[in-house]
């Protein structure tokens, strides 16, 4: 017994002196925590010379705030998850991140996970600094039961169809056709305006970062702004829809992410069974046979340049993401579609998809879910979209063309 203890002690001393430690931060989310906890434990047992020091991103106002503080104080992690596009752009511009394609086996892993198309959305100056983990397409949820009462068997697809059902359903100050705008926070613009623009334009980017200008003052942008304006003008939607408008029948439909599936199932079990999912609405001219693109609420992980053991950190990530079983565990535990291009075709996920129809529908849109533009000015731009485009349309302070011209000019000033 004494001998065993002695050997263990010697091993501990040797590893602490010569072993490599990698600091790894993940999103402070209980479901994701349980996923990583088990995996890190397994890796640490199998790799005593490369130990992962895992914790969640420290508590702060936001993950970004915690990460910034850690960088400013010289205590940044080696690997960090929960990075959104705008923040990634800021980190890249500040030269904090490792271009992942320079690490051995990057393209093999991307190929194995069929992620070629997905990583293109994260390309920055010809490099791939972020490894996307999950991609949440934002889709429409409709109240199938209420639609049927109105005489419709399927949810509306185009703006005109939405106008038609809204006119039938709306009662001033009481009931509305659709929740068009999700809120006043800057991130809400991802889910409404940008999402509608992606749908209308077939996934076209809303910013041209090389020419420092907005691109949505085209026919698609005009259609989207007209749609928002008309819905508010006719009282078919409202600024304040109260609490849980979709489940209380205040609106017939609205944009939702896959994270709402489990919550809705628990909170509103009776209504949940009547929910029907469809892609975001499109202008009337959008071809029937074309797939509808959506916004991808996507987060990725990065390796910081300050990491002493970059290749070892990458080895750990390869170990996690080259095993499909880990993706299945991720799906089962979090219900978030992993960022891989073969979700629908890979047999590993067939059983889960068969049992979880809602998840399957979200997974089906992963290939058409477009991430946001990689700009350091994300917050400024989306704040401006709220103040100078969405709110003037909501309160009828400006017409669609006027608001569109104004916002494009302002975005030019922000980006220039």
């Amino acid at each position: 017994m004494k001998k065993v203890l002695f050997v263990v002690l010697i091993m501990l001393v040797v590893f602490s002196a010569f072993g490599k430690e990698i600091v790894f931060w993940t999103a402070p989310n209980p479901l994701q925590e349980s996923f990583w906890k088990e995996l890190v434990q397994q890796w640490n047992e199998e790799n005593p010379d490369i130990q992962i020091n895992w914790s969640t991103i420290p508590a702060a106002g936001s993950s970004e705030e915690a990460i910034l503080t850690s960088i400013a104080s010289g205590r940044s992690p080696d690997i960090c998850t929960n990075i959104f596009s705008g923040f990634a752009a800021q980190l890249i511009e500040a030269d904090q991140l490792v271009p992942l394609e320079t690490l051995p086996g990057y393209w093999e892993l991307i190929e194995q996970r069929k992620m070629e198309q997905i990583v293109e959305g994260w390309k920055f100056n010809g490099h791939y600094f972020v490894f996307p983990i999950y991609s949440n397409p934002m889709l429409m949820w409709w109240r199938g039961d209420l639609l049927q009462k109105l005489g419709y068997d399927s949810p509306p697809r185009t703006y005109s169809e939405i106008y038609e059902i809204s006119e039938k359903y709306s009662v001033p100050n009481e009931k509305f056709g659709m929740q068009v705008i999700l809120g006043r926070n800057w991130w809400d613009r991802w889910f409404d305006f940008i999402n509608y623009y992606y749908a209308a334009s077939g996934g076209k980017s809303y910013l041209d970062l090389e020419r420092a200008r907005a691109t949505f003052n085209d026919e698609h942008g005009k259609s989207v702004t007209e749609f928002i304006y008309k819905m508010f003008k006719n009282n078919w939607t409202a600024v304040d829809l109260g609490n849980y408008p979709l489940y209380n029948g205040v609106v017939l439909g609205g944009i939702r992410g896959p994270w709402e599936i489990n919550w809705a199932k628990e909170q509103f079990p009776d209504v949940f069974d009547d929910i029907v999912i469809s892609p975001p609405p499109v202008p009337d001219y959008y071809p029937d046979e074309e797939p509808v693109y959506t916004f991808a609420d996507t987060k990725g992980l990065v390796i910081f340049k300050s990491c002493k053991y970059k290749e070892e950190a990458w080895e750990f990530l390869k170990w996690v993401y080259s095993n499909e079983e880990n993706d299945l565990r991720w799906v089962t535990m979090t219900n978030l579609p992993p960022a891989r291009g073969d979700l629908l075709t890979n047999e590993m996920f067939t059983d889960y998809m068969a049992e979880n129809d809602f998840f399957a529908q979200y997974a089906g849109f992963v290939p058409y879910a477009v991430p946001p533009a990689l700009t350091t000015k994300t917050v400024d731009i989306q704040d401006a979209l709220t103040t100078y485009l969405i709110e003037p349309l909501m309160y009828d302070r400006a017409g669609p063309e006027e608001a569109l011209t104004d916002i494009v000019r302002r975005i030019r000033t922000i980006l220039f």
């Binding site: 910034l68 980190l91 100050n173 006043r184 409202a238 600024v239 304040d240 309160y395």
Partner: protein, 293 residues
């Protein structure tokens, strides 16, 4: 022992006692204060090296539409909040002087609002005032109309002013109550002998002699207006049309969402200066020397 060595011992004692405070102040007040001014003159994004840009942040601020919007919002908010909180706290204080039983219970009941978590009651108010919330359901049943508490620009400011008023009535009311208690009863008795009515006593005795407490409440209320954050941040997000966007929200979003701590520091300095300016002006206009004799 000579006078000199006695002085030295006294001085050593003094220094040793006050040094702890000096060190504490230097670390937790002096250092951030100095750093605030350095930041206000710099361009920085937490990550890349800091660059001195002298007064460019101040120039940028005066050209910033949003800054002027926030200045207007602050005064707009004051217009609702100050009369409302002052009037209601005064009513509460006067009511306390009339109550004979359960006085402590009432004081504590009003103070609960002051010690409650801002996040918790903001969420409660948001639900309460929602377009299909209980308050609007009641109004709709009575009048057939609903009130867009948080979605009409002026109403949104008023709603937030009402919430903050609710929070501070108990606290300010207690300050005014102690002011009322310190007015000698003999003054009222003398006035009654001279045939003064209730209103006359209030205007000629209570209000003038309550001046120090009123000034204190005003100073506290004004500085609070420049520091509001939780309620608009959680309920309206600064909207509609940026009408509930406050100085503290602007400082926070500029520093931590737009990653521009230099500009945020500039805004913090200007907000503090404006707050001091308003306090000084109020004292000059309202403060009076009060003697009870």
């Amino acid at each position: 022992m000579g006078l000199k060595s006695l002085r030295r011992i006294e001085a050593t004692k003094g220094w040793s006692i006050s040094t702890v405070y000096f060190i504490y102040t230097a670390i937790f007040w002096g250092y951030p204060f100095f750093w605030l001014f350095i930041l206000a003159l710099s361009k920085w994004n937490f990550l890349t090296p800091r660059k001195f840009i002298w007064f460019n942040n101040f120039i940028k601020m005066f050209q910033d539409e949003l800054f002027w919007r926030v200045v207007l919002n602050t005064f707009n908010f004051m217009l609702y909040y100050i009369p409302m909180v002052l009037g209601l706290s005064l009513l509460f204080a006067i009511a306390l002087t009339k109550i004979k039983f359960f006085k402590t219970f009432f004081v504590l009941a009003f103070l609960v609002a002051n010690v409650s978590s801002g996040v918790a009651y903001s969420i409660i108010f948001q639900r309460l005032f929602a377009i299909n919330g209980p308050l609007n359901k009641f109004i709709y049943a009575l009048t057939g109309k609903t009130i867009p508490w948080f979605s009409e620009p002026q109403l949104a400011i008023l709603s937030i002013a009402m919430m903050v008023t609710w929070k501070f009535i108990g606290y300010y009311g207690l300050i005014l109550f102690s002011g009322l208690n310190s007015i000698p009863k003999s003054l009222y008795e003398a006035a009654e002998l001279d045939g003064a009515t209730g209103w006359k006593k209030f205007w000629k005795i209570t209000l003038p002699l309550l001046n120090p407490s009123i000034v204190m409440v005003l100073v506290l209320a004004i500085s609070l207006v420049f520091g509001i954050f939780t309620e608009p941040y959680l309920i309206t997000g600064g909207g509609p049309m940026k009408r509930t966007f406050t100085f503290q929200m602007m400082v926070y979003t500029t520093a931590f969402q737009k990653l521009d701590p230099g500009y945020a520091s500039t805004l913090a300095i200007v907000a503090a200066l404006m707050s001091f300016g308003c306090v000084i002006l109020t004292r000059k206009l309202i403060e009076r020397e009060v003697e009870y004799a």
